[in-house]
C-alpha cells in the first residue's frame, strides 16, 4: 500500500505538485494522465526521491519514505524500480551489463565496480533478456539498439532489482505504436504475474484506458480525477487537457490543428 499525503514540490516560485494525496493498494495498475507540465513526472520522481518533496509524506506499507537516508534510501530505490522516457541506459556499456546494473543494490561494491557479477546474476540477466526476446543483443553496446529494444533492456534492468513497485515515466512516449504495445504488454505481464504495483505516466488516453485499473488525472500540480477508466468522461478530459475530448481520444487532432493554423493565417 502506497500512501501519499499532501505531497508538494516547489521549484522556486513554481509549484509542480500541489498537495497531492493518493492511496494505492498493492498490485494495482495505475495510470497518471494529464498534459505536459501537469506535475506527473515530478510526482513519480518524488516517490523514489530523485526529486525531494518540499512538503507532505510518502509511506509504503506504513513505513515513512520521505525521511530515508543513505543505505535505507538506496534500498527503497531498489524496491521501486523506475523506467524512463529516454530509457536512461549507459549507452557505451553492453546490454547485459546494463541489465546487471539492476543488481547493484544486491552486490558488494568491489564486485560491482570490477564488473565481477555473480554467475547466478548473469544467468538472471540473460533470462530476463530472453523473456523480452532480445537475448541475442546481449553483447552489443546499448546505444546501438532501437528505442523499443532499449526500453525492453530498461525493463529487464528494473526487473533485476526485484522491485515491489514499478514507476514508469512516459515509458512509451518515444516509441512507435507496435513497440509501445510490446512495452505496455510487458508492464501488464509484470503486474499480473508478479503482483507488482505499477504507476505509469501516460499521455495517450487510449493506452491508459486499455491497460490501467485506475486513472489519476493531474492538472496544474493538483489531482483532479481519480477513478476507474470508465468514469473518464468527455468533461473530465476537457478539464485535463483543455481541449475537446474527442481530439485527445481519437487522435483526430491534426485536422483541427490545421484548421486552427489556417484561421490564424487568414
Amino acid at each position: 500500500m502506497l500512501v501519499l499525503e499532501g505531497l508538494t514540490k516547489r521549484f522556486g516560485s513554481v509549484t509542480a505538485v500541489d498537495s497531492a494525496s493518493l492511496s494505492i493498494p498493492r498490485g494495482q495498475f495505475v495510470g497518471i494522465i494529464g498534459r505536459s507540465g501537469a506535475g506527473k513526472s515530478t510526482l513519480l520522481r518524488s516517490i523514489n526521491r530523485l526529486s525531494e518533496p518540499s512538503a507532505g509524506t510518502i509511506a509504503w506499507n506504513g513505513a515513512e519514505i520521505t525521511t530515508l537516508k543513505g543505505a535505507a534510501l538506496r534500498d527503497w530505490r531498489r524496491r521501486c524500480a523506475m523506467i524512463f522516457q529516454q530509457f536512461n541506459l549507459v549507452g557505451r556499456l553492453d546490454v547485459l551489463n546494463n541489465v546487471l546494473l539492476g543488481r547493484l543494490a544486491h552486490t558488494p561494491g568491489w564486485r560491482a565496480m570490477s564488473r565481477l557479477w555473480p554467475h547466478q546474476d548473469r544467468l538472471l540477466a540473460m533470462s530476463a533478456l530472453e523473456q523480452m526476446d532480445i537475448a541475442g543483443l546481449a553483447a552489443q553496446r546499448a546505444d546501438t539498439l532501437s528505442g523499443g529494444q532499449q526500453q525492453r533492456v530498461a525493463i529487464c534492468r528494473a526487473l533485476l532489482q526485484e522491485p515491489e513497485i514499478i514507476l514508469a515515466d512516459e515509458p512509451v512516449a518515444s516509441l512507435d505504436p507496435r513497440n509501445a504495445k510490446i512495452v505496455m504488454d510487458a508492464l501488464q505481464r509484470i503486474n499480473r504475474h508478479h503482483g507488482l504495483t505499477v504507476l505509469v505516466n501516460l499521455h495517450s488516453l487510449d493506452l491508459a484506458r486499455t491497460y490501467c485499473d485506475r486513472l489519476v488525472g493531474m492538472a496544474a500540480g493538483r489531482i483532479v480525477f481519480d477513478d476507474v477508466p470508465a468514469a473518464l468522461t468527455e468533461g473530465v478530459s476537457r478539464t485535463l487537457y483543455g481541449m475537446e475530448a474527442a481530439d485527445v481520444i481519437d487522435h483526430a487532432a491534426a485536422p483541427g490543428l490545421e484548421a486552427g493554423l489556417a484561421a490564424q493565417a487568414a
Binding site: 544486491h106 544467468l123 538472471l124 533478456l129 546481449a138 532489482q161 526485484e162 508478479h194 507488482l196
Partner: protein
C-alpha cells in the same frame, strides 16, 4: 553478498539448455573485446618501459641527488645574512613595489594574449570539425595551423618576436596569443566535435546559412565549455607570461632570471611566492566568474 539471488520474485531463470547457448555467444563476443583490451594494455606497458629506458630515467639518481634538491629549498628560505626569511619579511620583500608593477605587467600580457588567442581559436575551431565543415582540405589546413601554433614553445616565439619588435611586453603578448590560439583551438574543436548535431540540423532545415548554423546550432551548446577552458588557459598563461622576461619579452620574468642567475635566493622565493598568490587569486576569481556566467545562462 545477499542470498536473494536464489529467490528472485520477478525473473525466472530459464532452464540450462535454453540459456547455455546464449551465455556462450555472449562470452565469445566479450572475449574478442577483452583480447583487444589486453593487447592494448600490453603495447602501452611496452611503450612506457621503452620510454623510461630511452629517456634514461634512473630512479637511483633521483634518490641519490634528492639532497641537492631539498638544500636548494633551504637556501630559498634564508636571507643573505643567513637568517630565516620569516624573521624579516620587510627585508625579504624589499622589492615589493617594483615586483608588483612587473607582476601587473605579466598579468596584462597574459590577459591580452589569452583574449586574443581565444578569439582566434573561436573563429578557427568551427572550421576543423567534420560536423560543421564539409570540406576536408579546410579541416586539414586549419588543424595544421593550430598544431603549428601550439607545438612551437611560447618562449621560442617570444625570442623570435624580441628580435623582430625589440624588448618589451609586445613580443610577450604575441607569443602568448599564438600559443593560446593553438592550445584553445584544439580544445574548442573537441568540444564542437561532441555537440548534439540535432539543433544544427534544425537550423539547416529552416534554411539557415553556415554562419546561422554555427551561431544558433553550435555556439549556444559550446559557450559554457569555452568559457571554462579560456579561464583555465588564462591561469596557465599567467605562469607562461612569468617566464617571458627570461628572453626580454616583458613582465616579472627578467627579475626572476636575474635573481636565479645571481643566486639571490630570498628574491627568488619572494617572486615565486608572489606569482603563486597571484595564480590562487585568479583561480578563486575565475571560479566565481564561471558560476555567475552559468547561472546567467540557465535563467
Amino acid at each position: 553478498m545477499t542470498a536473494s539471488t536464489t529467490a528472485n520474485h520477478t525473473v525466472t531463470v530459464l532452464p540450462d539448455p535454453q540459456l547455455a547457448p546464449l551465455m556462450r555467444a555472449y562470452g565469445e563476443a566479450m572475449a574478442a573485446k577483452r583480447r583487444q583490451l589486453i593487447l592494448g594494455a600490453v603495447l602501452f606497458t611496452i611503450a612506457l618501459a621503452l620510454a623510461l629506458l630511452g629517456a634514461e630515467v634512473d630512479l637511483g639518481t633521483l634518490w641519490a641527488k634528492i639532497g641537492n634538491f631539498t638544500s636548494y629549498f633551504t637556501r630559498l628560505a634564508h636571507l643573505d645574512n643567513g637568517a630565516s626569511v620569516l624573521s624579516d619579511p620587510a627585508e625579504w620583500f624589499w622589492g615589493l613595489r617594483k615586483w608588483s608593477l612587473l607582476l601587473g605587467e605579466t598579468l596584462l600580457i597574459a590577459y591580452v594574449g589569452t583574449i586574443t588567442g581565444a578569439a582566434f581559436a573561436f573563429c578557427l575551431c568551427f572550421l576543423c570539425t567534420p560536423g560543421l565543415m564539409p570540406f576536408p582540405w579546410v579541416r586539414a589546413a586549419t588543424r595544421r595551423v593550430l598544431e603549428f601554433a601550439r607545438t612551437v614553445p611560447e618562449i621560442v616565439f617570444a625570442l623570435i618576436f624580441v628580435v623582430a619588435f625589440g624588448l618589451g611586453p609586445v613580443p610577450g603578448v604575441l607569443a602568448v596569443a599564438i600559443h593560446t590560439t593553438g592550445a584553445l583551438g584544439k580544445l574548442f574543436a573537441e568540444v564542437v566535435d561532441n555537440i548534439d548535431a540535432n539543433p544544427v540540423e534544425g537550423v539547416r532545415s529552416s534554411g539557415g546559412t553556415w554562419f546561422a548554423q554555427v551561431r544558433f546550432g553550435a555556439v549556444p551548446q559550446v559557450l559554457s565549455n569555452f568559457v571554462s577552458y579560456t579561464l583555465l588557459r588564462f591561469e596557465i598563461n599567467v605562469r607562461g607570461a612569468a617566464v617571458m622576461g627570461f628572453v626580454g619579452a616583458g613582465g616579472i620574468g627578467e627579475e626572476l632570471i636575474t635573481a636565479i642567475r645571481k643566486f639571490f635566493y630570498a628574491d627568488v622565493s619572494a617572486i615565486l611566492l608572489l606569482i603563486m598568490v597571484c595564480v590562487v587569486v585568479i583561480d578563486l576569481i575565475s571560479e566565481r566568474v564561471r558560476h555567475r556566467l552559468l547561472a546567467l545562462e540557465s535563467r
